[in-house]
Symmetry: C2
């Protein structure tokens, strides 16, 4: 079995889909691994390190792909980049399928079986494959580091001979994996941390990390979590009450980090232009939802906007890619954990159980077709 | 008594010498305060905030200076910027006197009494005026934030469903005020922290912050601290032994922060090009001594150099100015604490005791002359 690791073609993508550690694992499973030259450069992994782990270094993406049974990528490759792979080759990547049906059809036309790593179901057996969690965890960490680097004050309380500096008030909106890590990191650095979420189960998590929970806790709130553990859209009435509470709270914050996402939908607007106008000069908003439209009305993808009253609103793209070596290390392990059960221990060849829950949830192309019920036609509202 | 707060003219200076808090204090002491418009802009302080504290906003530096008894600055002003002040007016600033005798003579010629805030003696009574300490504290904090922002991995150990990420190994060289805060901050964020210094008394401080102490602990080391608490130059033999220990330690570090300064001298080179070459790709060096020549052979003032083996060496200038609002807040309080004892409680006018230890240590110009023994002629080697 031959595994290809190609360099990412998106210039903004700093991650890579395999590390020397995972190359070694694949070779231990009986595979050959070809890594495109320079694939690890932005994650501080030299070609030599892959070679030392047993990979061959391919001079081009095409050379890496030639004869491959499996292609590992971070982002969805173009069909043309997969020319030369074996018929039915497996492609593992973050496929970003919503509203990208044409790209999926093109992958199907290339004859590959493409699996969307971000659709790994949230079941115990699949936790170690969950790229959304591994990457969101790092995004939450990095959001706080970015806030600290952008903030014109020190975050912790400092007691000096010239008197004290007050700690920064840091508000985390949305307490998923990213939000929890943001809370933990902000607390570590010494911030005064509060957090909010529409899912009642998050309250205890927030308290257990030593932060304060801020939410309108009515009946709708008590019933607000979906079975999959995601937030569901709230009623306009609840949103109004929550927005009022949030508005008065935000006016007193130095740093706000927003992480609220609803899968397959535009991110909810949690911070209006009016709320930004109520904040102190020099305050910081880090919008982790900017790739999905943003949680702040003023955020712009890939930009730092400064409001009229001097609030900095940062909308970095690909925040996990801002700690690329760690993000690649965890993503690459997620791929190992996904791929390992698909390899027959005797023959060392792929043996995919197409009825497996994880396979059904992630397989978006197979035998020239689109087997997944959610990605048959232009992406439906879930 | 009239106090002028001018905007800094150095475009790289983000701090300001007064805040609304200190303006209020001066007014409470019976002074009038004129603040040049825009003086606080880079420290997130609007003119309105100064006005609300009771200051008048002056349209130009000259208008602020007109008739002033006291001029507050962060950096040494040019004599021309002080035109219009009262004869014998007091100027408080970081005067940077070493090798800048001509500038001091020019200030003396302007008829002002200029006090060098960085020469505040290290005595108990003067601690609250000590700008070196207040600013170094923030530099130590910011160095770690800059390292975290520049590092392509997460700093803390992270235990995830896809396995663990190891914590960053962080080495602090030089355990003065900046080094101690760097240790504390690096520990907070979750790094595995070691530190070194040639002064034996620092060992306990390092241990008390939960970090490990790394040094050749011989007889010379045991006798190495000066009365003023600064490091003194070590013998070539000691330096060689320490360099050997340091070299083997640095090769294993992910982040190195250097803070070693000797007052009035070039900073010692602690990290040679060979040591940099021994480090892992993606490692970080933050050189806080770069304005004094640098502790790392490869660092360049104001630049981030990337070595052939992929080590990033950052030599930011004015690191306290990278957290300008906090740095200004503490610096401004230092000035209040210095100036307050010089104001007669009855008359609300300046009444300087020229025999006071703090005054003698800091007064560099008076009545057209240079009274300080160390700054009489081209700066001598101390």
């Amino acid at each position: 079995m031959r595994i290809a690791v190609q360099a990412e073609t998106d210039p903004h993508e700093s991650r890579v889909a395999a590390t020397p550690e995972t190359v070694k694992t694949f070779i231990g499973l009986g595979a050959e691994v070809a890594v495109e030259t320079g694939a690890g450069r932005k994650s501080a992994i030299a070609d030599d390190a892959y070679a030392a782990a047993g990979a061959t270094i391919a001079p081009t993406a095409a050379a890496a792909a030639a004869g491959a049974d499996v292609v590992l990528r971070v982002r969805r490759p173009a069909a043309a980049e997969l020319a030369g792979v074996k018929p039915g080759a497996v492609v593992l990547a973050i496929l970003d399928p919503y509203e990208n049906l044409a790209a999926l059809q093109s992958l199907a036309g290339a004859g590959v079986s493409a699996f969307a790593m971000e659709l790994i179901p949230r079941i115990t057996r699949a936790q170690s494959m969950d790229v959304l969690s591994s990457q969101a965890n790092l995004a939450g960490y990095r959001a706080v580091i970015d806030a600290a680097a952008s903030y014109d004050r020190a975050i912790p309380m400092m007691t000096t001979a010239a008197g004290s500096i007050q700690p920064a008030r840091i508000f985390i909106m949305g307490v998923g994996v990213a939000g929890l890590q943001a809370i933990a990191t902000a607390r570590r650095i010494g911030g005064l941390v509060t957090a909010t979420d529409v899912r009642p189960a998050t309250k205890e998590q927030v308290l257990s990390l030593g932060a304060k929970f801020i939410a309108v806790e009515d009946e709708e709130f008590a019933a607000a979590e979906t079975a999959a553990g995601y937030a569901k859209p709230m009623s306009p009435e609840y949103q109004a009450k929550q927005a009022e509470l949030t508005a008065s709270h935000i006016a007193k914050q130095d740093i706000v980090i927003t992480t609220a996402l609803i899968p397959g939908r535009k991110a909810p607007v949690l911070i209006t232009a009016e709320m930004v106008a109520s904040m102190q000069r020099g305050s910081i908003i880090i919008d982790l939802a900017v790739e999905r439209g943003g949680n702040c009305e003023l955020s712009r993808p890939g930009e730092t906007v400064i409001s009229d009253n001097g609030v900095k609103i940062t909308g970095n793209l690909n925040v996990p890619g801002r700690v690329p070596a760690s993000a690649s290390a965890l993503y690459a392990r997620n791929l190992v954990n996904f791929l390992k059960p698909l390899i027959d221990k005797e023959t060392h060849e792929l043996a995919i159980d197409w009825d497996d829950e994880i396979i059904k949830a992630t397989a978006l192309t197979r035998d020239g077709a689109l087997p997944h019920p959610n990605f048959q036609a232009p992406a439906p509202e879930p």
